[in-house]
């Protein structure tokens, strides 16, 4: 099949990670009492960005090797 699943996974987690990082800066501190005072959005957001980045990187490297294009066309 011509779709490398690492593209959608990688790109989705990059966007979700970004949203979490934004939440890390915008969510009011009193909400963070729920997460025991930890800014879990920022921490986990960065984690997701790294995961998404790695997936995208491997997808890109795979496409260089096989001459496949990103999803879409």
């Amino acid at each position: 099949m011509g779709l490398d699943i690492r593209w959608p996974i990688g790109l989705m987690f990059l966007v979700v990670g970004l949203l979490m990082v934004i939440a890390g800066f915008t969510v009011p501190p009193e909400q963070l009492q729920r997460s025991l005072g930890i800014n879990i959005n920022l921490m986990w957001g960065v984690g997701l960005l790294v995961f998404g980045g790695l997936m995208t990187f491997f997808a890109w490297r795979g496409s260089q090797k096989n001459g496949q294009n990103p999803p879409g066309k």
């Binding site: 099949m1 979490m20 879409g72």
Partner: protein
């Protein structure tokens, strides 16, 4: 229960996820040219993808919600479903059974049965599988939509329909390939969405060691938390997997002994599920070659082995939290209908004039649940002094109920720990599990319907275009029927019990048929067919004659006569499976010996172990050979069992 509000970011995360799964469906649309592309994929998918899809299809919402519930009820012993049940079964599937499924070129598990035995066995298996799959899908959808409704205040119908339509669209566009690819994405979503919740929960209860200490106090006096009246539990009833089990059924909250566990769950139920259920086997059959197909369950086994940390630990965290009053946490009570609240309010008002004992009886009767006398008395007193507004009254009444709705554990923890942002991620993970389970059911159903029922019995020799059209049409029908089942399960409270009962009847004997079919060339079609029927009849009879402690005869068993009482429903289920398997095994064996073989050795080549040339893995490096990986996985399982002994 208070509703919780989602922020813009929460909705944004949800939308990004939905866009991603739909995008996968649309990207794959142009590859769907024949019914094979749509229903069984072009068999070109890489192993890591089929492997993750293999467990993701099984990781439906019921699995997540149910395993957390069992973690709370039974503690770490729930891991037997993984380390005794799933992993050995997956290794067996990979090493011994996959060569026949993949090598026979069958397009489905029922089709393999037709090649090995005859049309009758295929018809029996495909009909029961198609019905069960739809029912399972509906049950799971009902369970999740209900939880979202009760705990988050989301509209039941909207949750149900939106999720179903999303699944329908991406399956219609990209067929099984699309289901498999999205399952991989959903796998990562589920793991990465729940991991931080588990982390926060563990941190809150003071880490693993401190959680275990709390759980030991709970085991010493479970009645204090209304977790059962048995005061005989081992001190490590919630924290050790084997010791309480070996000490006997009265020493562990599951109420089972080691034999029922190892034979009933480990051997019969788990092997029956993982090795014969087309829902999961279909994923392995989509792999690109024989080695990849055999390695699929092995790739799946690695994360599966670690899942208890994600799905069982939350249940244990919930109980540990409850044992510490300062945390102000309880597992949610079973939800009541609005009508019950109204009735209870009137009763509470009028009960103020009654003597305390009689007043308590009246209220408990009106609510229909076990209640705490002191809290009910206080509620009656306060309500008489100054009538409480309905929301406050509801909350006080809920707090007085001493029963638990264990299925609410996961969502209650998500609500407790997740600020906006993480909340969106965790809820998306929950919806992802819902969708992966449903897509798994729908894609297995449409293949079995199109190839094993429609093509085999209704419309033979049509063009492939016709079958592709049928595959698509039945995808829509399957989704609609699942939605119908969901409403049915919602309408009748005991619909779920009935359905699960039927699962048990049909699934328990099935593994015996496959075992004899694959490893004994002498097994005949008549033997397999009658054995399977006999096994199912045995389950039904066993259920009619036994019952679990504290259950009234009826749906839960014992309606003909109570010949034996089990300490728990779980023990009853495990023993039922053991009996049904044995009956099917013996019947198939005896009837096969009494009947003529209809298939020659030549016809059974590739279908039966002794008549099939052994697969040589010598061209593979040793660390990629399924047998080697299988042994390593089993060893890892043994180590896990010893660590949590």
């Amino acid at each position: 229960m208070h509703d919780i509000n989602l922020g813009v970011i929460d909705y944004a995360i949800l939308l990004v996820y939905v866009a991603a799964v739909l995008g996968i469906g649309f990207a794959l649309r142009r590859y769907m040219k024949s019914s094979r592309d749509f229903l069984i994929t072009g068999r070109t998918i890489p192993t890591w993808v089929t492997g993750l899809a293999f467990i993701s299809a099984n990781l439906g919402a019921l699995e997540l919600v149910g395993m957390a519930a069992s973690g709370a009820k039974y503690g770490i012993a729930t891991s037997h479903f993984y380390w005794v049940g799933a992993i050995p079964a997956m290794v067996f599937l990979a090493v011994f059974m996959m060569p026949f499924y993949y090598g026979s070129k069958a397009r489905s598990v029922p089709e393999y049965l037709k090649m090995r035995f005859d049309e009758r066995v295929r018809a029996l298996n495909s009909i029961s599988f198609a019905v069960m799959t739809l029912l399972a899908s509906g049950i799971s959808m009902n369970a999740l939509a209900k939880l979202l409704n009760q705990l988050l205040g989301w509209n039941y119908n909207v949750s149900l329909w939106i999720c179903s339509v999303v699944v329908m669209v991406y399956v219609l566009k990209g067929g099984l390939t699309s289901a498999i690819y999205t399952e991989v994405l959903q796998f990562f979503m589920i793991v990465l969405g729940f991991a931080p919740v588990v982390y926060l929960g563990l941190k809150d209860v003071g880490g693993w060691g401190s959680m275990n200490q709390s759980l030991q106090q709970v085991a010493a006096n479970p009645a204090a938390l209304n977790l059962g009246t048995n005061a005989n539990y081992n001190a490590n009833a919630w924290t050790s997997a084997w010791e309480p089990l070996l000490a006997g059924p009265e020493k562990n909250p599951m109420g089972v002994d080691w034999f029922a566990m190892v034979f009933g769950l480990g051997f019969v139920l788990s092997f029956g599920y993982w090795c014969t259920n087309f829902l999961v086997v279909q994923r392995a059959m989509a792999a690109k070659n024989m080695t990849a197909a055999r390695n699929t369950p092995l790739v799946a086994a690695v994360p599966k082995m670690l899942f208890p940390a994600l799905v069982i630990v939350p249940g244990m965290i919930a109980v540990a939290l409850m044992s510490n009053p300062q945390k102000g946490y309880r597992i949610p009570p079973p939800p009541l209908d609005q009508a019950v609240y109204v009735k209870a309010e009137a009763v509470v008002k009028s009960a103020a004039t009654q003597p305390p004992d009689a007043a308590f009886q009246l209220v408990a009767q009106a609510v229909g649940k076990k209640m705490d006398p002191a809290k009910v008395a206080a509620l009656i007193k306060d309500h008489a002094a100054q009538p409480l507004p309905m929301p406050a009254f509801k909350q006080r009444l809920d707090e007085s109920i001493t029963e638990y709705d264990y299925d609410g554990v996961i969502i209650s923890l998500v609500k407790r720990y997740c600020p906006t942002g993480l909340l969106g991620l965790a809820l998306t993970a929950l919806l992802a599990s819902f969708m992966s389970g449903m897509a798994g059911n729908v894609t297995a159903f449409n293949t079995v319907w199109t190839y094993d029922l429609y093509q085999a019995y209704i419309a033979k020799n049509k063009s492939d275009e016709h079958y592709l059209w049928m595959g698509r049409a039945v995808t829509v029908v399957g989704v609609l029927l699942s939605i119908g089942t969901a409403y049915f399960a919602r309408l009748y409270n005991n619909a779920m019990d009935v359905i699960q009962l039927v699962f048990g009847f049909v699934n328990a004997p099935l593994f015996a048929t496959f075992l004899l079919g694959m490893f004994w060339a002498r097994a005949t079609g008549t033997g397999a067919f009658l054995g399977l029927l006999g096994g199912t009849a045995t389950s039904a009879l066993f259920h009619a004659l036994t019952i679990a402690k504290d259950n009234a005869p009826g749906l839960k068993g014992g309606y003909l006569h109570v010949a034996h009482v089990f300490p728990s429903e779980m023990a009853q289920n495990f023993w039922l499976a053991a009996f049904a398997f044995t009956a099917c095994f013996i019947l198939t064996l005896v009837i096969s010996l009494l009947t003529q073989r209809t298939k020659t050795d030549e016809e059974l080549k590739g279908l039966v172990y002794s008549l099939t040339p052994k697969i040589k893995d010598e061209d593979q490096p040793f660390y990629l050979r399924p047998a080697v990986i299988g042994v390593v996985l089993l060893a890892a399982c043994v180590v896990l069992n010893i660590i949590f002994w």
